[in-house]
């Protein structure tokens, strides 16, 4: 029997039970739609994060304390990046292809104003560099200057949310807040932004790193040093020079591992890709279970269908159908069911993802874009057809093995 007729026969069988066919594929539709939604949102998130990260520029290199950059405790508490290290990196003879060195540290103390404590993310570092990288403008006032940093000025720039928490709608510039008993003069407030960074940007406050070390932490350690190479081509060389300089500074022997880690934007993006992909794969695997459940539903309905159409099977055999013709008829029927479920699932998933992306762009991150997951589509439809093949096999095989005369006598 030619495949065209197999297809025609299978479609005829499904058409005869339209409502049942539609209900049967519901499980597959939901499963595939979920896969598409997860992959679309995963890819959207991935693209957003990568856009933010790549916004730092490909020539940006990040140095953090600790062997492993994924270990946040090491980043916060390791004491391997010091002021001397920063000075060493600034020396041209050590790292010739460097254009800027921007160290920063995290201050864990709260901001106080009129006796009230406010929990903000206080960074000691170069506020101008931060504003430039994330493309944030000023709502009021201005950033502190290089001179302010050199002179350990007690200036602070606030994120728009923490400013609102402390001062409400009043102007903040010129007012004083306290951090660990020290008075800081508010010199500027960042404007509201949709940019996504490692911290919630509206809740951030910047003070000069020199001031933070001298008056607050009382140490000379940094949590992060961002350096910029003079060109993308020189990034690898700068990574090498930075690594060698810091290993010399820290007197690390040849066979010992570094007590810091150096990340290029490329490696950060690779890492993010890896994390998002693993996470997406995990979610897809979880959702795939629903496809198995849907497949069992298909098998169940196909068994009912085989039972209901026993006489038809007998008739087909009596007029010349081979066992394999009957097998392929029911198998194709199951695969059409799941395939249709897959296609409907992709359309539904894409629609929901599109709406979700629009909502996310309006509420959380305006740069969020809808990404149609081509791989998710292929995966969804492919897996659903395979589900049909696997779960349709038993009923189809049962149908093909029926004795023609017993099938014809079936009531």
């Amino acid at each position: 029997m030619r495949f065209r007729y197999v297809l025609k026969t299978a479609l005829g069988g499904l058409k005869a039970q339209k409502v049942r066919s539609a209900l049967t594929i519901l499980g597959i539709v939901i499963g595939v739609a979920s896969i598409v939604i997860i992959m679309a949102l995963g890819e959207g998130a991935q693209r957003l994060i990568l856009d933010q990260v790549s916004g730092l520029g490909a020539e940006t290199i990040t140095i953090r304390p600790g062997e492993d950059n994924a270990d946040i405790t090491a980043t916060l508490y390791a004491q391997s990046l010091t002021k001397d290290d920063v000075e060493a990196l600034k020396r041209k003879e050590n790292v010739p292809n460097i254009v800027s060195v921007s160290p920063s540290l995290i201050v864990t103390d709260p901001i106080k104003y009129r006796g009230e404590a406010y929990r903000a993310t206080i960074m000691g570092g170069d506020a101008a560099f931060f504003a430039q990288v994330l493309n944030i403008g000023m709502a009021e006032g201005e950033l502190y200057t290089v001179e302010d940093r050199e002179q350990k000025s007690r200036s602070i720039v606030l994120g728009n949310e923490i400013k609102f928490d402390i001062f409400g709608n009043e102007s903040a510039v010129g007012k004083y807040v306290q951090i660990k008993g020290q008075q800081f003069r508010v010199v500027g407030v960042f404007e509201e932004t949709s940019a996504v960074g490692p911290f919630e940007i509206g809740q951030i406050a910047f003070i000069p790193d020199t001031t933070a070390q001298t008056y607050i932490t009382g140490t000379n350690y940094y949590n992060e040093v961002i350096v910029r190479a003079d060109s993308v081509q020189n990034v690898e060389k700068v990574v090498y020079d930075v690594t060698q300089t810091l290993r010399d500074q820290h007197q690390i022997a040849f066979d010992e591992t570094s007590d810091f880690n150096v990340q290029t934007q490329e490696s950060v993006m690779e890492r993010i890709n890896q994390i998002v992909n693993v996470f997406t794969a995990f979610l897809v695997a979880v959702v795939a279970i629903s496809l198995v459940v849907g497949g069992i539903g298909i098998m169940n309905i196909m068994l009912v269908s085989v039972s209901e159409r026993t006489k038809e099977i007998g008739l087909r055999k009596a007029v010349g159908a081979r066992n394999k013709d009957i097998l392929s008829q029911f198998l194709v029927e199951a695969m059409i069911l799941t395939g249709m479920g897959g296609v409907v699932g992709v359309i539904l998933g894409a629609l929901v993802s599109f709406i979700a992306a629009s909502v996310l762009a309006r509420t959380i991150a305006e740069d969020w874009v809808f990404v149609f997951p081509i791989f998710g589509t292929v995966l969804g439809v492919g897996v659903s057809v395979i589900v049909g093949l696997v779960f349709g096999m038993y009923p189809a095989s049962k149908a093909s093995k029926k004795s023609p005369i017993e099938a014809l006598r079936y009531e």
Binding site: M1, G314, R316, K317, V319, G320, R322, K324, I405
Partner: protein, 239 residues
């Protein structure tokens, strides 16, 4: 070489511990072009015999050859090919696909054949003309009368131009007029188109439309003789 060669054919059904011998050693031959009626009371084994002759059922012992070949020596594909090209079935309960049209039902055996698709319509139109169903070609079979259903089933049996037409109680579900029309069609298939027709019935009246009657009783052939005065179904309509 006989078209059907049957010698000491036995068939036993086993269900659990119960063995029922339905055919107890049947012997006869059928030549090409004959119109045979296999007649017997209910439970005599006549339908089992027809199912064995038409390859739908295996036998327990004895010899059965179709055109000199045993179905037992064939694989599923070969037997299916014989059913498709050499054998046509007409059942008591019609066995039509009720949601499909007359055309689609008659088309069914062609789907499993090697006949070119361009030939299908011509063949279908030819057989519906033989059975007088041209005017109902696009009707869903569920909307047909019993007689029309059976004539559609005969058209389906004919479409691959088989050597043998097996008719299992073809008038059993029909009124006498429709029954006579079906019998007239079967006689025409035999007399004018040269098909071998094997008819199973429990009614003497229907059996007498054949040229030869094999009487089966209690799993044995009790008589096998030509019908001297064959009934002519078309006479019924002349009256």
């Amino acid at each position: 070489m006989s078209l059907f060669y049957v010698k000491d054919l036995k068939k036993t059904f086993i269900e659990g511990d119960v063995e029922t011998q339905v055919l107890k050693g049947v012997t006869f031959t059928i030549e090409k072009g004959e119109f045979i009626s296999i007649m017997g009371p209910s439970g005599s084994g006549k339908s089992t015999l027809l199912h064995i002759l038409s390859s739908l059922l295996d036998f327990t012992s004895g010899t059965f050859l179709f055109n000199g070949v045993s179905f037992s020596s064939m694989n599923d594909t070969e037997v299916a090919h014989i059913r498709n090209t050499e054998i046509g079935f007409v059942f008591q309960s019609f066995n039509l696909l009720s949601r499909q049209t007359v055309y689609e039902n008659i088309e069914l055996p062609l789907m499993y054949s090697n006949v070119l698709e361009s030939e299908w319509r011509r063949r279908i139109e030819e057989v519906v003309e033989i059975v007088g169903m041209t005017h109902r070609l696009d009707f869903e079979t569920s909307k047909l009368s019993g007689g029309e259903k059976q004539r559609t089933a005969i058209a389906r049996a004919l479409v691959n131009n088989p050597q043998v037409i097996f008719a299992d109680e073809p008038t059993g579900n029909l009124d006498s007029k429709s029954g006579q029309a079906v019998m007239a069609t079967l006689q025409r298939l035999h007399d004018e188109l040269g098909h071998t027709v094997i008819l199973v019935t429990h009614e003497t009246f229907t059996a007498e439309h054949a040229d030869r009657m094999i009487r089966v009783s209690d799993g044995l052939v009790v008589s096998d003789a030509p019908i001297v005065q064959r009934r002519n179904a078309s006479e019924y309509f002349k009256k």
